[in-house]
């Protein structure tokens, strides 16, 4: 069983970042974990990775409500990038606003990337399910 090379966590809440990181480490499923406090930082980093032909994250945990650039704005820019492989993006939010679910449906139909929608808190089992699926693909 191989490991996932890079997982990216984009969230302005340090506790969420701590939690997901801790779960990923416990599962020992990936080589790298990158964390960003908002969408702007994340998209900048991914653009740099593409430019320098480094590995881009295979799995992204994405918060919606963030300062500077929120999750939707990040997605808008991310799906516009030329990435041939299918990236698994997990939207993780505590929002129950139907508008957010509608946005998710819209994005799913506009890209070849796999986008999932889940509510906080994430559980270890959920994280395991995601990483297993990616490893086997």
């Amino acid at each position: 069983m191989t490991k996932i090379s890079t997982v990216s966590i984009i969230d302005d809440d340090p506790i969420t970042i701590f939690g997901i990181t801790k779960m990923l480490n416990a599962l020992d499923c990936c080589d790298h974990i990158e964390t960003y406090m908002n969408g702007e930082q994340a998209i900048r980093a991914i653009r740099d990775q593409i430019k320098s032909q480094e590995d881009i994250p295979e799995v992204i945990f994405l918060d919606i409500n963030m300062p500077i650039m929120d999750g939707w704005q990040f997605l808008e820019e991310f799906i516009a990038l030329k990435i041939s492989q299918t990236i698994r993006i997990n939207i993780v939010t505590s929002s129950i606003d139907p508008v957010d679910r509608q946005n998710w449906e819209d994005f799913k139909n506009r890209t070849h990337h796999q986008i999932e929608f889940m509510n906080k808190p994430m559980t270890r089992d959920e994280v395991a399910l995601i990483t297993e699926a990616v490893k086997q693909s």
Partner: protein, 616 residues
Amino acid sequence: MLQGTPTTAANYLIKQLPKATAFINTKFEVVYVSDRWITDFDFGKRNVLGKSIFDLFDTVSDDLKDLLESCLIGSGGDSGVERFTDRSQKERWFEWTNIPWFDDRENIIGIIIQAEEVTQRVLQAEKLRKLELLLQNKSEVAGIGSWEYDTFRQTLHWCPTIKKIKGVADDYIPTAESAIEFYKEGFSRNTIAMAVENAKKNGTPWHEKLEMTTADGRDIWVIAAGKPLYRDGKYIGLLGTLQEITDHVNSENKIKESESLLRTVIDNLPLNLYIKDIDSRKTLVNRSECEYLGVSDPNEILGKSDHELYDKEVADISRQEDLAVMRSLTPIYGKETLNVTPNGNATTFLTSKIPLIGNDGRATGLMGISLDISNLKKQESELRNLINVTSLQNKKLVNFAHIVSHNLRSHTANFSMLLDFLKDEKDEAEKDNILRMLIAASNNLLETLENLNEVVSINTNVNLDKKPVKLYEKANTIVDSLSGFLKDSDAKIQNLISPDQKVKVVPAYLDSILMNFITNAVKYRDPSRIPVITLSTEKTNNFTVLSISDNGLGIDLKRYGEKLFGMYKTFHENDEARGIGLYITKNQVEAMGGFITTSSEVGKGTTFKIHFNDKD
């Protein structure tokens, strides 16, 4: 020659008699005639002597024949009127007088006939008879009776028509007193008595509409007219007419009643009602229409067109409608129209226009009915405003519910995750770490709850006590209280607010608003220049606008405009950004009936314009 024939001298005498005279013998042959006889009967040169009188007058009546024959046997002095047609076919009338002709021995030897022309008299008598007949007919047909009072003989004569009107028998003999008593006691009887007295004394005629009770007990209306008669300037009596007009009066009263009923109905309708002629001039208006046009007397409106009563634009439209209705003969029902009177009062009406059609099938005008629905319209618009406000508030509430839910969930999610970790954690150092995070999360939750509480209290405080506050002084007070904070960043405040400018605000909210905008302007300053914050005011309709301009970093409004005043939205990588200040500020301004507009340019600065509502 007959026995006892008079002499030639006698013959000559007879010839000269002044009247038409003929002597005829027992065989009715003419013996002597006067010249007048020849000329009166138009014989001309025709020889009449010796001719039978019956041959000379071919139209002699049997009466005259009998008369002449009886004259021969001694009766005399009888006369009769005979018709005679002369040679020009003119009809003439003569009165014949016959006496026996005696000889000296008292023997009847013939007849002496005298004739006198009475054509004029006969024709006049005939004319009079015709006139009387005509009068009687007229009287019967028109129901107008006549009467005459002879003051000398103190007799009163009624024609049959009057007797019929008064319901008395044909042989009834009226007197002046009984005639007056037919009139109803009171006004009618007094009036007629006065009229008769005046006529006698002053010679004035009368013509009165009065009530009387007939002999058979009917109450009737009559027109009684009369005038005095004079002969040689001396009063000799009275002459007059009487006409029954009960039916006329009754129908007149009925018409008056229905007119008054109709008038009551149209005047009390809660509608404006009018009738216009073919030139759109008003010919009838009801009370509502008068009140609408601000007049007490309908005559101030009658005869006027819409152009004299309304604004030109409105009058033009109305006239076009009138013409269309009258041309097509098709009514307009319940059309919403706007009327503006010359003094500028606008009223919304529900107008109907119905064409009035004459006997020739063409429109003679129209009837207009207008229902004032201005109040309804106003209520409708108030209701619509209320719905807008309510739906806006509803939207805000749903939005707020999402914010609350989101904030509470994000914290509880953290709690549950951290507790889950803690449960299985063996490493003591990691346990401490997790515990620290739990405490931080708990503090965050408390702060969030406080913030939400503040927002709720702003939005639920419906009885806001707005007071006029001097803005200039207030701004200075806030700047003073922030002096330490401002000094640290060398910030300059330019207070350009007019010292007298007042705004109606909740003082605590104004403090919070000023504090927030000024600290924000300093927080997001451009590190390359000294922060300068300028405060100024201007007036717009119903609003006093406070402008707060800075020369800070600026915000990309295209990107963040929608979220600028959202809760927990921050736009700069700034540790001091909490994302709550502008959200609360916005809620406070809106709770006071105001709003905020923003203009900004990245790298130049930002201007917030706070619109304070001047109304309570």
